[in-house]
């Protein structure tokens, strides 16, 4: 049971100050637009929070490009919209100064690097598929399939509207370890460098029935490596944190733990 409300609330309240700047090459008007400052939730996705940014900058670009899809980069690194914002920050910008300076593009969409995001519904379907995948790992998909459409809707609206209670009213069910004490597998994704994320099947308890910790997970996923640094939600969770607790409390809204791995 995810019942440590203080931690959950703190995770939910995670915000990042972001400074959006239009790519100078794309400025069409005489005067370059001012930077746009925005406080974005770590748990959200960029397409959900950048409507205002688009509105702000679209006046300054070439009229032909005004219908084009907006995309973002940081230090030349295109930002994947389907990763939670907090994950992107921890991956690429954890060491940089706040605010996080992001460049806004309307031109030259990096087709190889990014998926297209035609609309919010695309984010929703991606989000829901993550939730379902996580539930498959945790409960063999029993919880999510017993939910009604409106529960799914509430989950999504809660995230989109930044409503903690609305979201957790439904997410609570997903975070319950029904029947047994623990999840079947811990849904997590490890990000390291530019490659795709790494996912393994890791149980929250050892075969002897003892609670596994973050340390166990790291050893199972990266058996031969030392000096790894784990970052999630902008913090380095202690290695002795129990996995089950981590999954219940430190998962992103998509029900996955997103761990950014760095070699120190």
């Amino acid at each position: 049971m995810a019942n440590d409300r203080e931690v959950l609330r703190e995770i939910w309240e995670g915000r990042l100050p972001v400074c959006f700047q239009l790519n100078s090459e794309e400025v069409y008007s005489l005067q370059a637009p001012d930077a746009y400052y925005l406080m974005v939730p770590r748990l959200s996705y960029f397409p959900l929070v950048t409507d205002k940014v688009r509105k702000q900058f679209v006046r300054y670009i070439h009229p032909d490009k005004q219908e084009a899809e907006m995309w973002l980069d940081f230090n030349g690194q295109a930002l994947k919209w389907h990763y939670p914002i907090g994950v992107l920050f921890d991956m690429y910008a954890a060491d940089s100064q706040l605010p996080w300076n992001i460049t806004v593009h309307f031109d030259k969409f990096p087709e190889e690097e990014l998926l297209h995001c035609p609309c919010r519904e695309a984010v929703e379907s991606h989000f829901m598929s993550c939730v379902k995948e996580a539930d498959v790992l945790k409960h063999r998909s029993q919880v999510v399939s017993s939910m009604q459409k409106k529960d799914h809707n509430q989950l999504w609206l809660g995230l989109q509207n930044d409503k903690f209670d609305q979201f957790w009213a439904v997410n609570r069910k997903l975070m319950e370890a029904s029947g047994e004490e623990v999840f079947k597998y811990i849904p997590f994704r490890c990000y390291r460098g530019d490659g795709p994320f790494i996912q393994h099947l890791v149980r929250p308890v050892t075969e002897e029935g003892q609670r596994k910790t973050l340390q166990h997970l790291i050893q199972e996923v990266f058996p031969n490596e030392t000096n790894l640094q784990i970052m999630t939600h902008g913090i380095e969770p202690p290695w002795e944190t129990p996995l089950q607790w981590m999954s219940e409390h430190l998962s992103y809204p998509d029900n996955f733990l997103h761990l950014c791995i760095q070699t120190s």
Partner: protein, 1246 residues
């Protein structure tokens, strides 16, 4: 002694509700005759009635039942079982106690009821020869199963309401070739354990029909259940508890539902126990113990949580519960030498060790729900004593149903105190002396001195109190050997946290270093103040969402058909919540055209108005749709409806900024469906307050003259009215009238105008005058003409003690001396060729226009709610359970949206569904179900107009569950015969229980009970059942001042609650207030006025209430209005308001400090039935007696503004206006929300 005198002998001074003279004599012609209050010439005999109250004082203590023989060891009892609290059609206060003796005899205790739990005497029930009974169990429906020494079972057949001991025994074999060891009977379930510890379920048993069917009493076969158990016990709701055969742990069977009585699996109950360290069997009990414990200790919580478990098992009749609150602080004479190891048991000094088989009586220990992480151990003494300390009433319930027990530990043998100690301390319990109490009838102190100690005349009941410190909590391994769950009502869908150890673990987690570190780091993620980031725009600032769905709607007329539509609820909210706006659109199914669209701020109430299998919501928008019924939406299913209900409620609350608990001055209403709504004037107050006055801008937009508006607070001195407008060029004259409600007399409307302000341009004069009783007075014409055609004006009218001060364009224009009291003014009227820009009404009190009141649903299911200005609020459910408001809001109706985080408790309520079976007599076949063609349906509702059948009766929503089968109701008002029939000459008529020669029709009522499971911000208050309650702040001085709470118990007794205050809203204990009459309604008002209404229809007021004696001395009878019977009463600031059974309102006049009983009743006219329109002025003519008027359902008087609100018989909320100290009856009504049958009760804070 089990019984104690309560007061001295006194005379009854009333007869049928009429006062007798002080000697109390009644007169008649001769003795067996009807007695009358008046002496006549033919009165030859007289009689009077002496009354003395007694109360059962052995509550919460063990009271020994006399043994069968002089020598208790001759034939000791070896088993006892209690049940029968819900025999079909029976009186729920009667209980059945069966016992078995060491000789294998079966004994039945006659006369056991909640009011006399000890019963009268033992009656031996013969068993078939060769059968020796080993163990016995009786279910709530009276079904008895017994286990024989030979391993077979006996079932008692024919147990019915009329024959509670049954008719004969049926023998039932054991499963396979095994031998039964133990059997337990529930309502529809019988569970047994065989000697090889296997568990068996008896299928096919139906307790409710078992009295009439051998087949349903004995069931059809054994089914083996997984698991090995030593003992099994079935609760009244068929939940099953057991003790494991190996581990001796307590188990609970999960998943037992009416549809699946066998359940799913056994789960061990985490059952810590509190053990007593006190080993002295002469330890003292303290009578003041309960006082020392009043202050919300953990025990109290535990007790509450326990009492909520026992809820269902406590029978409806609270009579006995009330009788006894005072002496109950003694706990049971429990085995103080309680040991876990039998080897430690002592023998008494004289060597004559008495061992008795004890009925099981301790309940299981529910670990505290608040989950402090501490596992607790307790034993029966603790529970009982803390029960008695804090909740007298539920305590007594515990005792009554004690041997049904709760989940229990039994002391199979217990030991008796030493004889020597007994002599020294007369309060020490001893069975030898206890048998001498009044309890046992087989042995009498007078006749049988050898058994009784003469010194111990009053020592029948003894208790012993453990000191709080003398307890310790142990978590040791207790090997249970007995469980008894008969009094334990566990809701299988909402189990207590008996099995969960997770929260304990999380408590530990809170202090783990990794958690601390994570939390610290999370909090440190963003730099502190000064970084400038807090000025950044929020990404998710405006949250808007659209909710769409399909429904069927009824837009205007309530006769209109429901038509398909699409709903769209759009809501835009800012993070601060202040700029919320929202729209509800009702579109055609294809969304092509809009049927209706309005802003959510127009909504004043969203209320469920479902009918069975028609889930509906009514949305009240009184300002938009003047005079028409609310918008009604019908949904395809309960879930859909509740989803919309939750969303609409939640959005509207945010819209109006209504959060948190309501302020103490709030007005509460309940609907006919049991939903609870509250109006909080504090919100209006904040928005209206300007300076020291409350201002309301009257709505003039788009309105033309003649203009009329309601002045909701009247026009008492201090009121200001500001009118800004423009005189048209063509204007000849215009007028501003401060007027009274119109009076329709002889087909013409007459309106008294208190102030007529009338500028006339041709004459260039401004006339002031009054129109009283149709006659204009002398005109006042002084002063210059200050108005100009075609120019703007501003008029201010100040009402002062003697005059109206009138300002025009900011300058004092004139004074107008009051010709009549300005209090009568209710409306402002503006006539003539002017346009209005602004009309501002300012009053010293908050202005509450009924049509602007936003009613917010609070959660819970209640029949009544009563509040007082100290912020203490109580409610009464349909099953007469009392609830105390916790300060939370929300509950299951909100589905997790915007619900308060604490104070939401599960609630249940029970309601009865009735169907009438009608029959007509014909000469050939007698009564048959073939009526005349013109007759009513042979199965109908009470009116006979609607067809109702048992099979087609549906529950209101998915949250209701049937908890009984259809059965004949033997308690139908009017009396019934043996088969439940009531007879009458014809339909519809008055029915009587005896068949007469002329009776051609008969009917009987079938009843089926349904139970609702919900949750809401209410805490159950013990098990005393109440029919009415009234709260009043005793004094306004202290911060946490005491609140007087008067209640009427289900049996018609008056009760006074001690220790109620804002900090302790539940109070501590009930005090019984004797009354000769059974009461129906009670109300306490300012200045310690307490009034009650008896079931006979007369009123009473309580004489002698002083601060030191809040209970008062005696009830004084006040005769009801001639020929009327009152049914409800409410004490207001200036008068007492009564409601009679015909729905007519009455005001008690001339109530003064000297004559608090007043002098006469003044009738308040009923209001015209076309008064659906909001804000229309009603007639106040006292002569109106037209047929098209409607009466009232409920009335409530408030203290804050001396206001009176009532609910009409059609469910419309009305407020009485024009109430002044001189005219406490007021002048007329204005209307708020309401639809047919919607509202049922209102309560204003006292």
């Amino acid at each position: 002694m089990a019984w104690q005198w309560e007061v001295d002998w006194h005379l009854e001074t009333t007869l049928d509700g009429l006062a007798l003279d002080h000697d109390g004599w009644t007169y008649a012609v001769d003795f067996p005759a009807t007695f009358h209050q008046k002496k006549q010439w033919k009165s030859c005999v007289r009689r009077r009635k002496w009354i003395r109250y007694r109360r059962y004082s052995a509550m919460n203590s063990w009271c020994a039942i006399a043994p069968l023989h002089k020598d208790p060891t001759q034939e000791p009892f070896i088993g006892v079982a209690v049940g029968g609290q819900s025999i079909p059609g029976g009186n729920p206060s009667n209980l059945l106690v069966w016992a078995i003796t060491a000789h294998g005899r079966v004994m039945f205790r006659t006369g056991v009821s909640t009011t006399a739990p000890e019963g009268l005497r033992w009656t031996a029930i013969p068993v078939p020869s060769g059968c020796e009974v080993n163990q016995i169990s009786v279910g709530p429906t009276g079904l008895v199963w017994a286990v024989l020494w030979n391993g077979r079972a006996l079932v008692r057949a024919g147990v019915t309401r009329e024959s509670p001991t049954g008719e004969f025994w049926l023998e039932v074999g054991a499963p396979e070739d095994l031998k039964l060891a133990h059997v337990s009977v529930g309502t529809n379930a019988v569970w047994a354990v065989t000697r090889d510890q296997r568990v068996w379920f008896r299928k096919g048993v139906r307790g409710e029909s078992a009295g009439n069917s051998e087949e349903l009493a004995r069931g059809s076969g054994w089914v083996e259940m997984v698991g090995n158990m030593a003992v099994v016990s079935v609760a009244a709701n068929d939940q099953v508890f057991a003790i494991g055969s190996e581990d001796r742990c307590l188990y609970f069977r999960t998943g037992v539902l009416p549809s699946e009585l066998t359940g799913k699996q056994w789960r061990a109950i985490h059952a810590p126990t509190q053990l007593s360290r006190t080993s002295s069997n002469a330890s003292l009990w303290s009578a003041n113990y309960r006082h020392s414990l009043c202050g919300g200790t953990p025990r109290e919580k535990r007790v509450r949580s326990w009492s909520s478990l026992a809820r269902n098992s406590c029978s409806g009749d609270a009579q006995s519960l009330i009788r006894d609150w005072e002496e109950t602080s003694r706990s049971a004479p429990t085995p103080t030498s309680l040991r876990l190891q039998p080897s430690l048991w002592q023998k008494s000094s004289d060597g004559a060790s008495l061992t008795l088989q004890r009925p099981s009586h301790s309940e299981d220990s529910v670990s505290e729900s608040s989950g402090a992480g501490q596992l607790e151990k307790r034993n029966e003494e603790d529970t009982q004593s803390s029960q008695s300390s804090n909740e007298m009433i539920s305590t007594s319930a515990v005792i009554q149903e004690h041997s049904e027990g709760a989940v229990a530990e039994i002391q199979p043998v217990f030991l008796v105190g030493k004889g020597g100690e007994v002599k020294k301390n007369p309060t020490v319990w001893s069975p030898i002396r206890s048998v001498g109490s009044m309890v046992g009838m087989e042995a009498h102190p007078e006749s049988d001195g050898s058994v009784f100690d003469p010194v111990s005349g009053d020592s029948g009941v003894f208790g012993e109190e453990e000191d709080a410190e003398a307890m310790y909590w142990a978590d040791g391994d207790v090997a249970w050997c007995m469980v008894e769950a008969g009094a334990c009502a566990v809701d299988p869908l909402c189990l207590p946290s008996w099995f969960v150890e997770a929260h304990v673990a999380s408590e530990v987690e809170l202090s783990k270093p990794w958690r601390v570190k994570i939390l610290q780091e999370l909090k440190r993620r963003l730099p502190e103040e000064g970084s400038g980031f807090e000025k950044y725009e929020k990404a998710v600032e405006m949250s808007s969402w659209v909710k769409t769905g399909k429904a069927r709607c009824q837009l205007k007329d309530s006769n209109q058909q429901y038509e398909d539509c699409t709903l769209e609820l759009e809501w835009v909210g800012s993070e601060k919540g202040s700029l919320d706006s929202g729209t509800l659109s009702i579109l055609s199914p294809d969304k092509n055209h809009t049927k209706m669209q309005f802003s959510l701020s127009e909504i004043t109430c969203v209320v469920c108005c479902s009918e069975p299998s028609k889930p509906r919501i009514a949305i009240h928008t009184p300002k938009l749709t003047k005079g028409s019924s609310p918008l009604k939406l019908q949904f395809s299913g309960d879930t859909d409806m509740e989803d919309w209900m939750a969303n609409l409620t939640s959005v509207c609350c945010q819209m109006f900024g209504v959060h948190g608990p309501p302020s103490p001055g709030s007005i509460w209403i309940t609907t006919g469906l049991g939903d609870v709504f509250v109006f909080d004037p504090a919100i209006l107050e904040a928005s209206q307050l300007s300076g020291e006055m409350y201002a309301q801008e009257l709505d003039v937009a788009g309105k033309e003259t003649p203009y009329e508006a309601h002045l909701h607070n009247g026009f008492p001195p201090g009121t200001i009215l500001t009118i800004q407008g423009c005189v048209h060029d063509s204007c000849d004259r215009f007028s501003i009238n401060l007027q009274c409600p119109s009076i329709s007399q002889r087909h013409k409307n007459e309106t008294d105008i208190i102030l007529h302000f009338n500028p006339r341009f041709p004459e260039s004069v401004t006339v002031r005058n009054s129109l009283l009783s149709g006659e204009w007075g002398a005109e006042e014409r002084e002063g210059e003409m200050v108005f100009k055609q075609g120019s703007e004006f501003s008029i201010n009218i100040y009402c002062e003690e003697d005059v109206f001060k009138i300002f025009v364009d900011g300058n004092l224009y004139t004074y107008y001396t009051h010709r009549q009291k300005p209090h009568r003014i209710t409306h402002v009227g503006i006539n003539g060729d002017v346009s209005l820009n602004k009309v501002i009404y300012q009053s010293k009190m908050v202005i509450v226009p009924p049509s602007d009141m936003f009613w917010r649903q609070m959660g819970g299911h209640l029949r009544r709610v009563e509040a007082c200005s100290a912020g203490v609020t109580w409610g009464i459910g349909y099953d007469n359970t009392a609830w105390v408001y916790t300060g939370g809001w929300g509950g299951s109706f909100l589905k997790g949206l915007e619900t308060s985080s604490s104070g939401i408790n599960p609630m249940t309520d029970t309601r009865s569904y009735y169907v009438y079976e009608n029959q007509r007599w014909n000469p050939l076949t007698g009564y048959t179900s073939h009526g005349l063609p013109t007759d009513r349906y042979m199965w109908s509702d009470v009116t006979g107009k609607h067809k109702r059948t048992r099979e087609k009766t549906k529950l209101l929503s998915m949250h209701w569950q049937w908890v009984s089968d259809w059965s004949i109701d033997y308690h139908t008002p009017g009396g019934v015969d043996k088969e439940g029939w009531q007879y009458a000459i014809d339909f519809p008529a008055t029915y009587h229980g005896q068949k007469h020669f002329t009776d051609y029709v008969r009917r009987r009522r079938w009843v089926r009970k349904a139970q609702l499971s919900t949750s809401g911000p209410w805490q159950e208050l013990g098990s005393t059942k109440l029919v009415d309650v009234s709260l009043q702040m005793s004094s306004k001085v202290e911060i946490d001042s005491l609140v007087d709470v008067w209640a009427v118990a289900a049996n018609g007794d008056a009760l006074y609650r001690r220790g109620v205050s804002a900090l302790c809203p539940a109070g501590t204990s009930w005090e019984h207030v004797p009354s000769d009459q059974t009461l129906a309604s009670i109300s306490c008002g300012p200045d310690r006025h307490v009034w009650a209404v008896g079931r006979s229809g007369s009123a009473f007021w309580r004489f002698g209430i002083t601060p030191s004696n809040p209970i008062g001395e005696v009830w004084e009878t006040v005769e009801p209005p001639t020929g009327k019977t009152l049914k409800q009463i409410s004490v207001g600031c200036f008068a007492i308001w009564g409601l009679d059974s015909a729905g007519q309102l009455w005001v008690r006049r001339e109530v003064t400090p000297v004559f608090p009983e007043g002098t006469h009743w003044q009738a308040i006219p009923t209001i015209a039935s076309d008064m659906g329109n909001y804000d229309k002025i009603s007639s106040s003519s006292s002569s109106s007696s037209q047929n098209n008027t409607i009466g009232f359902r409920h009335v409530s008087a408030g203290q804050v503004q001396a206001e009176i609100w009532a609910i009409t018989a059609t469910g419309v909320l009305c407020r009485r206006h024009g109430i002044t100290p001189d005219n406490p009856a007021g002048t007329g009504w204005s209307h708020g929300i309401g639809v047919s049958d919607m509202l049922s009760q209102i309560h204003l804070p006292q």
